[in-house]
């Protein structure tokens, strides 16, 4: 009975999207968002059930006995890994749906809300299905549908050319990436598992098959890394993300950044840990992609002047922070260092959930600022913390968390990343770069937070605190950021369950978990207890001995009139950016090369089009293609 419950969120979300087609008014919008929030809560419940005992549901669609046979049966299964990601989806989906109730009202009358009403629940549904389905072919179908429906959310403001272009770029790039996935899935199903796309079957057969066919291993690895890398916005396939995420409505951006780009991470965990034999080389490859990703994108995030674009770049950076320990973990496991390897994998999952919370929160705060002021320009905004204290507090918490400041959640995962990478020579350089980049992250988020919330604005900006339905989700996420920082026992338990379901044994007895720090081996005191003790005593001191100061205007070296100057966001770290200009030069150069390649492709396309008017040449090309196809198909035994 309880497995049938897996269908309830599907029903609710489908209902919501159909309802969303009905009207474009306020009521429909509210109903859609509230139904989505309910479905998200149900998803959280599914995740909890999944952690406790696992859920499995088999649906026979039809009977056939060809290649399509593997699609006969739609199997839903929630193991602990998918439960972990479902938890992220459920919590963040709940917050963004609730937030959407009020936030989307700003588009009333301006945009066609049906575009949102229909696609938003379907987008949630597709992510849910990807996480619960237990069949690679069905996974591919849901994956493509997710890309398809989410592009409409990116292109929500359809009158803006920028949004349309961003959606187009997003769709084309991820679609091209997904084709690599299709190819690799077909290769797996044809060669290794004989038309069986069931995950359990694949994890039984594939590792042995790949061990005997190492060349296949490398082909599949590169195809999967490209396919998932595009969706996860791994450098060099990242260029769609900084365009697409800022264009979507803020609550959708939060979902895109918090959950959607985590789904490739989920599949990478499935593939590289349970489907593939553990290979040190692959681990190193993933880790180096991770490092390149986090280095370049954070340097680019530092120079952004648009609040949501800064956040988008930082999302890619955090994907780097997730890929780096994943790769290092694979490497260490393959080399036989089970303990550090499992810590690295744990760090990867920990950072995944952390990033979902703080980045979701940051996008929501950016959305609140847009809701009140209509601006994303860091140069223009300023001094909003006085007018929006709750949003200001939430943004500060998230900035602290993303900069990895103790005792918040970002610190725990970053700490685990350093422990696992810095101690082994092979990944030492990766750890060093990650440590440097965390300093840059701090600076970038000081910029984000202070330029919006604390630095006084040049002209008076009209704003007040956002309505309850908008600040409550922000507070919930801020609370989770603090909770996962001071009480890591909870996520660590979930993560070790998730890793256990992949066959990675966590030696929990060697892990001592203190609030805020997970510590291998031993220790005498909990540092954070002391930290919070001191913090509380100082704040008590602050309360008990209030300084009875007067208020004066700021010190302007004795000048009476208003200075009316402030540091523009564009020149926060100008000297640093100029001195480290080489990084940006490399980035620009690669952009330039890419542009050249695109132009080349366009030129070839034009030539082809010109050729297509010529019947003879087209026929001969078709002949050659058919010959190739026959030759290829000859090798396939059906």
């Amino acid at each position: 009975m309880s497995s049938l419950m897996l269908l309830i969120p599907i029903g609710v979300l489908v209902g919501a999207s159909i309802l969303g087609l009905v009207g474009r008014g306020k009521r429909t919008l509210h109903a859609v968002n509230i139904l989505s929030a309910t479905a998200s809560l149900l998803i959280v419940y599914m995740a909890i059930l999944g952690f406790e005992r696992g859920l499995e549901l088999k649906l026979w669609i039809y009977a056939s006995s060809s290649v399509i046979a593997s699609l006969n049966q739609l199997i839903f299964k929630v193991d602990q890994l998918s439960a972990f990601f479902l938890l992220i989806l459920g919590i963040l989906g709940f917050c963004t749906s609730l937030y959407g109730v009020k936030y989307m009202e700003r588009y009333l009358g301006k945009e066609d809300l049906r575009l949102y009403n229909f696609n938003y629940p379907i987008f949630l549904l597709m992510m849910y299905l990807i996480l619960t389905c237990w069949n690679l072919l069905w996974f591919i179908i849901f994956w493509e549908l997710m890309t398809f429906f989410s592009q409409f959310l990116v292109a929500f403001e359809r009158n803006k050319e920028k949004a349309i272009r961003a959606a187009y770029k997003y769709f084309c790039m991820t679609k091209a990436g997904a084709d690599f996935l299709v190819l690799s899935v077909i290769l797996i199903i044809l060669n290794a598992t004989r038309f069986n796309a069931n995950y359990s079957e694949i994890s039984k057969v594939l590792p042995f098959y790949l061990q005997s066919n190492p060349s296949m291993l490398y082909v599949l690895t590169s195809a999967l890394l490209i396919g998932f890398g595009v969706k996860a916005a791994m450098v060099p396939f990242h260029s769609w993300l900084p365009d697409a995420h800022p264009e979507a409505p803020s609550n959708v951006s939060a979902l895109l950044s918090g959950v959607m780009i985590k789904l490739p991470i989920y599949m990478l965990f499935r593939f590289f840990i349970s489907f593939f034999p553990r290979n040190a080389g692959i681990g190193m490859l993933i880790a180096s992609f991770g490092v390149i990703t986090l280095f370049f994108t954070m340097m680019y995030a530092l120079i952004q002047e648009d609040s949501k674009r800064l956040l988008a770049y930082s999302s890619i950076d955090n994907i780097g922070y997730v890929l780096l320990p994943l790769g290092t973990g694979l490497y260490l496991m393959a080399k036989g260092n089970q303990f550090l390897g499992s810590i690295a994998l744990m760090a990867s999952l920990y950072h995944t959930i952390n990033h979902a919370f703080f980045k979701g929160l940051l996008f929501l705060t950016a959305g609140s600022v847009i809701y009140e002021t209509g601006s994303r320009d860091l140069n223009y905004l300023g001094g909003l913390a006085k007018k929006m204290p709750l949003t200001g507090f939430a943004a500060m918490t998230a900035s602290f968390a993303i900069a990895g400041m103790p005792p918040l959640n970002g610190f725990v995962s970053k700490w685990m990343i350093y422990i696992s990478t810095l101690s082994s020579p092979a990944s030492s350089l990766f750890g060093i770069i990650a440590l440097f980049i965390s300093g840059v992250t701090l600076a970038a988020f000081v910029k984000y937070f202070t330029s919006i919330f604390t630095r006084p604005s040049l002209e008076e900006i009209e704003a007040r605190e956002v309505p309850l339905l908008m600040w409550a989700p922000q507070m919930l996420l801020a609370f989770l950021c603090i909770l996962f920082g001071v009480y890591p026992r909870l996520p660590v338990k979930l993560i070790s369950g998730a890793l256990d379901s992949l066959g990675v044994q966590m030696d929990m007895s060697r892990l001592v978990i203190y609030p805020s720090v997970v510590i291998p081996d031993r220790g005498s005191f909990s540092p954070i207890v002391i930290f919070s003790f001191i913090l509380i005593t100082t704040f008590l001191m602050l309360l008990l001995i209030p300084s009875k100061g007067k208020q004066f205007s700021v010190w302007k070296c004795g000048i009476q009139e208003e200075l009316n100057v402030r540091l523009p966001a564009s020149s926060y770290y100008r000297d640093f950016e100029e001195e480290f200009g080489e990084v940006y030069k490399i980035g620009d150069l690669s952009m330039h090369i890419l542009k050249k390649l695109v132009d080349l492709g366009k030129g070839a396309g034009l030539k082809f089009e010109a050729m297509s008017y010529d019947l003879n040449s087209m026929l001969s090309i078709a002949m050659i293609l058919i010959v190739i196809l026959v030759a290829v198909l000859g090798g396939v035994e059906l």
Partner: protein, 293 residues
């Protein structure tokens, strides 16, 4: 027992940090042919400031502005508990080097948020310089941490101290020596504060108790970094260690303050360029550590 020793460490840090500053002021004055104040002068200044009321600027975001000095001070105090100083007892646990680095970053974070919240343009300039310098230091520091982790295959203080004698470890310590000098905002690198240019930068609006806390933080940070450096070279034997620590403090502050007395201030871009060059050196040191020198 450990608790008592740690309390002694903390009390020592709290008492001695302003005294070191007083001593350094005296040394600098002597080198510049002045008589200089008594070495207790820093303490008197702090006590005076603690008793004064503090003024709040009207444009400030009050909650963050007031929170910042407390947060900064707390972070550095916690770091003092984690790092062994006078006595070799501390909260030791795996990876505590990282925690100390992050506590110092947390202090920087709090410091700059406070400055940005004060609403003063000079403070904003100072803070942005502070963070630019912080990022470029972090690059060198990351390499030094990497080298240290490579040499001793650990990130916890109990395995780190003292560092084994190798070429790479000596070079790494030399780099650490420079970073400590830069981080403690001494004269060629006091660009964020730069009194004649931007009138104390981040500190400009703070007064009374808040200013006292921030000044105290700067002294404690210097003391902490001295302690970090000394821990790497001092032997583990208890008797020698205490004596060595005290002598080391005096020597370090003599060296640092005499360096300070002879230099003018760098511009921010010069300082960042210097850090970038140093990071290349650090990279070479890292390679040396990789090949096992």
């Amino acid at each position: 027992m450990n608790v008592i020793f740690m309390a002694i460490n903390l009390a020592f840090a709290l008492i001695i940090a302003p005294l070191i500053d007083g001593f350094e002021r005296k040394v600098r004055a002597r080198l510049q042919n002045r008589r200089g104040p008594s070495i207790f002068q820093t303490w008197w200044d702090l006590i005076k400031l603690f008793r004064r009321p503090s003024i709040e600027p009207r444009d400030s975001v009050k909650s963050f502005y007031i929170m910042a000095p407390y947060l900064t001070f707390t972070a550095i105090l916690t770091a003092c508990l984690i790092l062994p100083t006078l006595l070799p007892h501390s909260l030791n646990f795996a990876g505590d080097l990282i925690v100390v680095i992050y506590m110092v970053s947390l202090a920087t974070f709090g410091f700059s948020i406070g400055a940005f919240s004060s609403g003063n343009p000079y403070a904003q300039i100072g803070s942005s310089r502070e963070l630019s310098l912080f990022m470029s230091e972090e690059l060198v520091l990351a390499f030094v941490v990497g080298v240290i982790a490579l040499i001793s295959r650990s990130l916890s203080f109990e395995h780190l101290f003292p560092l084994p004698l190798r070429i790479s470890s000596i070079l790494a310590l030399a780099l650490l020596f420079v970073i400590i000098y830069v981080t403690s905002s001494r004269i060629p690198f006091d660009i964020p504060e730069a009194e004649p240019e931007i009138i104390e930068g981040p500190l400009i609006e703070y007064s009374g108790r808040h200013l006292a806390l921030l000044l105290y933080f700067i002294h404690l940070k210097r003391f902490l970094l001295y302690g970090l450096f000394l821990n790497f070279i001092l032997p583990e034997k208890p008797g020698i260690r205490i004596g060595g620590f005290l002598i080391g403090l005096v020597i370090l502050s003599l060296v640092y303050s005499s360096l300070e007395a002879y230099y003018g201030r760098f511009r921010i871009d010069q300082a960042i360029r210097l850090m970038k060059k140093l990071s290349f050196v650090a990279f070479i040191v890292w390679i040396m550590a990789m090949v096992g020198w």
